[in-house]
Symmetry: C2
């Protein structure tokens, strides 16, 4: 059997036909144009499903289900997209809407949970019974896999790991709370700290890379400047690694999974980031022995499609 | 069927015969005398099991299993007590030792996990599919129940929730790390802060309750002084509640369980502690709506016996 996975984002709708073992056979994407009404977006999702099915040459009777990974709040039992701040869904039953055109079981899940499931089925956590995937990007997303299934809590809103506080009364977070991990371990946090740092370190290479416009600083510039041994940048990256690591130690002390996966934009820094994180966690983990493997994500943006597709297999 | 639960502590060995629904039929306890060798302690465990069986009048053929909750590290698959800082066990296979005298399945688990299972089966989290129990005492213990079973991670050392950092570079913890929740939410932390506070607030009622000996301050004195509106004590308790609540919000954002149970010595303060904790968590929880019930533990010290007994039912 095959499974369709839809990664619904604020920018694009990515649809893939996925094999039983989590390999994408065919994929297509279209712009979300997220100012549109849900009905229009759902029509594009369905049309793209048909495109992918046609191109793959697979018969609909060989497709087991459709899974959708969505930002924001979802209610999986009813196939409902409850709310997302970048989409106009408002308790929209995407399941029933899609089933008007495609007579297949339809599953919905939070997109970060789908990415974690994708990495668990076919990526960096393949084979692990328990894994946690954190995505360090503009924010900090995360998904918890227990017994090879998504753990989403009793009310389907668990795994908001980015919003666990690592610094009481610390930096304000997008969620309104102070000191969340997201306010320290996201790329946004690194950029915030870099903008502050260059105010006092006006000769930093970071500022040169940003053409002397501190508002133009991005995470890549900070890492690039650190690679050139710019003192300000090295200090920023060291601090950033520390904050990432404190959160990862927390997750390992709480979950002790086989594998902890780091994904998102900053994970492209590979060993430069991973090695000091592992060293830090080894020093801080409870009990003195780090048994969990900490690895970088493998599937990139495909994790969302694969995980969404695998919702049908897991259910 | 009946189940035997053994709560092995540094001070006493408590043994109970427990019904299928988690009710203690008979219980007995003997001093651990923890300076002794494991063989002597295990002999007392077995003898106390026989005492409990005899007194209850239940036939051994009606007993399904023996479960043991132990401090420190355990290795459940092999029935081994690996290490505890207050007992001389050193990779001791308590299962095979007990089975020399009592031919029953023997299960071992960490004591905090057993307490969480006890509350889940017959206490404050009865009926919940997912619950988290935290025990605020000298340290901070915790257990995670997912799908009505103990979640102990891939390597059986998970749920060290007391050692998740809520304050990077904060107070030093007994585990060596800085800023652990235990270093803020344990009774020990409250006492530490009180000892510091009375140095500058020498007229505090706390000091009077301790007969002017700051080294004699305990958590009860701080709470009692706060109940009398002593300014220093009120401030200490407010801060303590804040630290407890920050950790509880973290747990709810991560697990979103049906029920979060607070146990341990400080839980005896009941509503005085619970009400402001709930108010704080309502303000800080992700998504704006607190769906998890936060409640005080119900079983007290019996949670460990009941949970240990129920290991046999869950397995």
């Amino acid at each position: 059997m095959y499974y369709i996975g839809i990664d619904l984002g604020g920018t694009k709708i990515a649809v893939g036909l996925v094999s039983e073992d989590g390999v994408i056979i065919t994929k297509k994407s279209v712009p979300t144009l997220n100012h549109r009404m849900p009905a229009e977006i759902i029509k594009d999702m369905v049309d793209t499903c048909f495109l992918v099915i046609d191109e793959s040459g697979v018969s609909i009777s060989d497709i087991a289900s459709i899974g959708i990974g969505s930002p924001g709040f979802v209610y999986p039992p009813d196939g409902v997209l409850v709310y997302a701040n970048n989409l106009k869904f408002d308790n929209t039953c995407v399941r029933s809407e899609i089933q008007k055109s495609l007579d297949l079981p339809v599953y919905v899940e939070n997109d970060a949970n789908c990415a974690a499931l994708g990495e668990s089925v076919a990526g960096a956590a393949k084979g692990a019974i328990n894994s946690v995937t954190v995505t360090l990007g503009t924010g900090v997303g995360s998904g918890i896999i227990i017994n090879k299934m998504i753990y989403s809590g009793t009310f389907f809103g668990a795994a908001e790991i980015g919003h666990h506080c690592i610094m009481v009364d610390g930096e304000v977070c997008t969620c309104g709370r102070h000191g969340c991990w997201e306010a320290y371990a996201s790329a946004t946090a690194l950029i915030r700290d870099a903008k502050r740092a260059v105010l006092e370190n006006t000769d930093s290479l970071i500022l040169k890379l940003a053409n002397n416009d501190s508002q133009a600083i991005n995470a890549k510039m900070v890492f690039d400047a650190a690679d050139e041994n710019d003192e300000t940048a090295v200090c920023l990256v060291d601090n950033y690694i520390k904050y990432i690591s404190e959160g990862i130690t927390n997750l390992i002390n709480i979950f002790q999974p086989e594998i902890l996966v780091i994904g998102g934009g900053v994970s492209s820094r590979g060993e430069r980031l991973l090695k000091p994180i592992i060293q830090y966690v080894e020093k801080t983990v409870y009990g003195g022995a780090l048994k969990t493997d900490i690895v970088m994500a493998k599937l990139g943006n495909d994790a969302g499609i694969i995980g969404a597709a695998m919702l049908g297999k897991a259910n």
